[in-house]
């Protein structure tokens, strides 16, 4: 009964979305206030019915209703309750329902926070979001209905993929989707602007907080995914340039470019058509990401579900959304005015260069991700693009971007003098050079370490410099109070980038790894730490059996750090083996131990890692996200609710 309620409310939501996508548009065209105000009620109704549907699925999962096919394939009575709930979005059908729910949450947020806006604008934005809802509702109802029944109902379910039975992955998809779908807001605002022809700095100002918030979620979502891959996929990597990772990274790159170009459009009225284009592309890439992940066209470690009919539906939807929006852009884009002019040496130019570098980087990632697909179409043979490609193209593009990033905040809009900026950069440059040279001697001539950590130092010291500029000749306390929140946010996010770079550099260049066979009592030394294998015993989990190894560790000073207990699990329902690593985390280094295979006489093959600074990678992402969050809290963007 409950699943039918869920299914039925999806259909009602579709009907509501059909009205939402049309009536307010007509109202805005005819300037009919009532029809425009209808959009707000429709959004609430849509949210209500999607929520009912979502809760119906959650409820059915919690009571183990295996007569529902989706639940029978993705849950099991022995599954712990938290994973029964996260299993709702553990596979294809449910993850789209989650996507839809998040889309209606964003629509609600737009309706709520837009009271200061002209109603015609709001109703157009909500109507565009309604169109997106229709697409996803049709997709769910006709190709991936999570409420489909299974007859006869099995006694028990086939269990959730053990890889997904993890707290990190329980929140990773919602975060990522908040980011992906968040870009639908700025997309809709832009489409509404293109329809009405009103793309001014008010449009940019209104788009900015939505873009930043979506970007914050996307940053956190990607970081969570990377962290999960590190400890759960087993083997200690944090980024694999896997198609699915790239799918989330491309919208991030464009989103980053967008949130910067929006600043220029708001402050200077410049780059309008570029900003419009970026906001269309950011959401298009989010959709493309969904298509890549869910259609199974690309071979990937993440391609959990695949079905060609779904793929072609998403492809058609993709063509409609991207093609339609670009067409509108082509028709209306030409009417956009150019904005104020600026000198070659100015903040404007540097912002543009940074934007271009980010976009080129994104294009390169796109090329590497889609190349196997293109190749398959023209039948040259099956191939894949290896990790070295991405490192080879990505790093050289990012290095100049980092230089720009450290300089642009110190520069003036419109026109600046080289000597002035050089004077400002003198101290940061000196700091960066001394850090780089010092590292060059400490690390025995590694140019890569010197350059990238030097750049990180450049970023941090120019951030400090920009604060000194603001505080100059006033009392420090009152000056710091006067600095707007968005300035703090920006600098915190930039420091996050520096922290991230330091993490990546040291992890990639100084990690130590050992794969070896160990018998009980064997000790090996890695990075100054002594690892002793104390043997492995069997262990019973709620829905798995495991071998649990014990590895005791002594640090370089001779103090005991404790015992790591990596596990080799076999999840009983699927008979699927899983490696659970034992990790001793620290700010400056992680120690990572994984059981690989059981050999004869109680011996095991083990993998042991010493990973310096790996936490800095995710810490950097958290700082970037926090910076974005603080920037949105700025009073200037506090969307005036009461007027």
């Amino acid at each position: 009964m409950i699943p039918e309620i869920g299914n039925f409310s999806l259909i009602i939501a579709l009907a509501v979305a059909l009205f939402l996508a049309t009536v307010p548009l007509y109202g805005a065209q005819k300037n009919n206030l009532q029809l425009m105000q209808f959009s707000r009620y429709a959004v609430v109704a849509q949210f209500f019915f999607v929520l009912v549907s979502f809760l119906a699925l959650v409820y059915s999962f919690t009571i183990d209703d295996f007569s529902v096919r989706y639940i029978a394939t993705n849950s099991n009575s022995a599954l712990p309750m938290i994973y029964k709930i996260s299993a709702v979005w553990g596979a294809h059908e449910g993850s789209f329902l989650l996507w839809l729910l998040i889309l209606s949450i964003w629509s609600m947020a737009v309706a709520y926070f837009s009271k200061s806006l002209p109603i015609s604008m709001t109703s157009r934005v909500l109507a565009v979001m309604g169109m997106l809802s229709i697409g996803f509702l049709l997709f769910i109802i006709f190709t991936s209905n999570p409420f489909e029944r299974l007859f006869p109902a099995p006694m028990d379910g086939r269990d959730l993929n053990p890889l997904l039975q993890d707290p990190g992955l329980a929140i990773h998809p919602p975060m990522l989707y908040m980011g992906y779908v968040g870009f639908s807001v700025v997309f809709s605002i832009t489409i509404a602007g293109l329809i009405s022809g009103q793309l001014d700095s008010a449009w940019a100002r209104w788009s900015r907080p939505w873009t930043v918030i979506a970007w914050v979620f996307l940053t956190l979502g990607i970081a969570l995914g990377s962290w999960w891959a590190y400890y759960e996929l087993g083997w200690g990597g944090w980024w694999f340039w896997d198609p699915v990772e790239n799918a989330s990274f491309m919208p991030w790159l464009i989103g980053t470019a967008l949130l910067h170009s929006l600043i220029v459009t708001e402050k200077r009225g410049a780059f309008k058509s570029w900003t419009v284009l970026l906001s269309l592309i950011a959401f298009s890439l989010s959709l493309l990401g969904t298509f890549l992940v869910r259609s199974g066209v690309l071979v990937s470690v993440h391609a959990f579900a695949s079905d060609p009919t779904r793929g072609s539906f998403i492809l058609a939807f993709l063509v409609f959304v991207i093609g339609g929006s670009l067409m509108l852009y082509a028709i209306r884009g030409s009417s956009m005015s150019g904005g104020g002019h600026f000198n070659l040496f100015s903040k404007d130019t540097f912002m543009l260069l940074g934007n271009i570098l980010l976009s080129v980087a994104c294009a390169m990632v796109l090329l590497g991700t889609l190349y196997p697909l293109l190749d398959q179409m023209i039948d040259l043979g099956k191939l894949s693009v290896g990790e070295p490609y991405f490192n080879a193209v990505f790093v050289p593009i990012m290095l100049p971007a980092l230089v720009i990033m450290s300089m642009a905040p110190l520069m003036r809009w419109k026109s600046d003098r080289f000597e002035r900026v050089f004077k400002q950069m003198l101290i940061p440059l000196a700091v960066a050079l001394s850090v780089g040279i010092a590292l060059f001697f400490i690390e025995k001539g590694s140019v890569m370490i010197s350059v990238s950590v030097g750049l990180a130092a450049l970023i941090v010291s120019s951030v400090v410099m920009s604060f000194i500029n603001r505080v100059k000749s006033k009392s420090v306390g009152s000056a710091l109070k006067k600095i707007p929140l968005s300035f703090y946010g920006m600098n915190l996010a930039h420091i996050g980038v520096a922290v991230f770079i330091v993490g990546v550099t040291f992890t990639e260049s100084m990690s130590l790894q050992k794969d070896l066979r160990m018998e009980q009592g064997d000790t090996i030394s890695l990075g100054g730490y002594a690892f002793t294998f104390e043997g492995a015993d069997s262990h019973q989990g709620p829905n798995y059996i495991a071998y649990e190894g014990a590895v005791s560790i002594i640090d370089p000073e001779g103090e005991s750090i404790g015992v790591l207990t990596p596990q080799k699990r076999v999840y009983q329902v699927r008979g699927m083996p899983m490696t659970e690593a034992g990790i001793d985390a620290g700010l400056f280094r992680d120690l990572f131990v994984a059981l690989a295979e059981q050999l004869e006489n109680g011996a095991w093959s083990l993998r042991i890692y010493y990973k310096p600074f790996i936490r800095w990678i995710w810490l950097g992402c958290i700082l970037m996200a926090l910076g974005g969050f603080i920037a949105v809290m700025d009073k200037r963007y506090r969307l005036r609710v009461a007027k």
Binding site: H341, I356, M364, A392, M576, E597, S605
Partner: protein
């Protein structure tokens, strides 16, 4: 040319040069880092390059996995049903590696053989994180080998039938035995 235009021109040229350089770099990197996929049948037919990395996919033959004393060096066979390649790998295998499982290995051949089979030295072994999953390329290679096998059988059967028509029943029965 007025200074505004000149500025704009310099900017556009700079951007074009930068983007051009990036694209050249990218295409070059792409060219060097493509990994082609071959099935055991294709490797046997000499389609795979020697001393250049490629991906080999197929099923791990039953009973073929042998482990050396160090616990880390492993020998096994990969088959697509028609041909078999001997693989050596040193390192830790993915959780889902087992006999009968579809896998993809990245590595090289150096032209040598092992037990009469082409010897593939793997640098990386990938097994999918889903016990029912079959890499599509492996599935396709298997299907193709299976199809080819069936075609061959059908041709043999047709040839046999033709021969039977001419020869006596005892002879054709003996032929059927040797054809097996």
């Amino acid at each position: 040319m007025n200074p505004k235009r000149k500025n704009r021109l310099i900017l556009v040229l700079l951007i074009l040069a930068g983007v051009g350089a990036a694209v050249t770099l990218g295409l070059k990197a792409l060219d060097q880092n493509l990994l082609y996929f071959f099935s055991p049948t294709q490797v046997k037919a000499g389609e795979a390059p020697i001393d250049h990395s490629f991906r080999l996919g197929g099923l791990v033959s039953n009973g073929s996995v042998q482990r050396e004393k160090d616990g880390l060096t492993i020998h096994f066979d990969i088959t697509d049903g028609a041909e078999t390649i001997a693989v050596t790998y040193t390192g830790i295998l993915p959780d889902l590696f087992r006999e009968g499982q579809g896998i993809v290995a990245t590595g090289k051949i150096d032209g040598s053989t092992k037990d009469g089979k082409t010897h593939f030295i793997a640098e990386e072994v990938l097994a999918k994180h889903d016990e029912n999953y079959m890499p599509p390329q492996v599935q396709e290679a298997l299907d193709k080998a299976h199809e080819d096998g069936k075609k061959k059988l059908a041709e043999n059967a047709a040839a046999d039938a033709a021969k039977t028509a001419i020869q006596t029943t005892e002879q054709s029965a003996a032929q059927g035995g040797t054809a097996q």
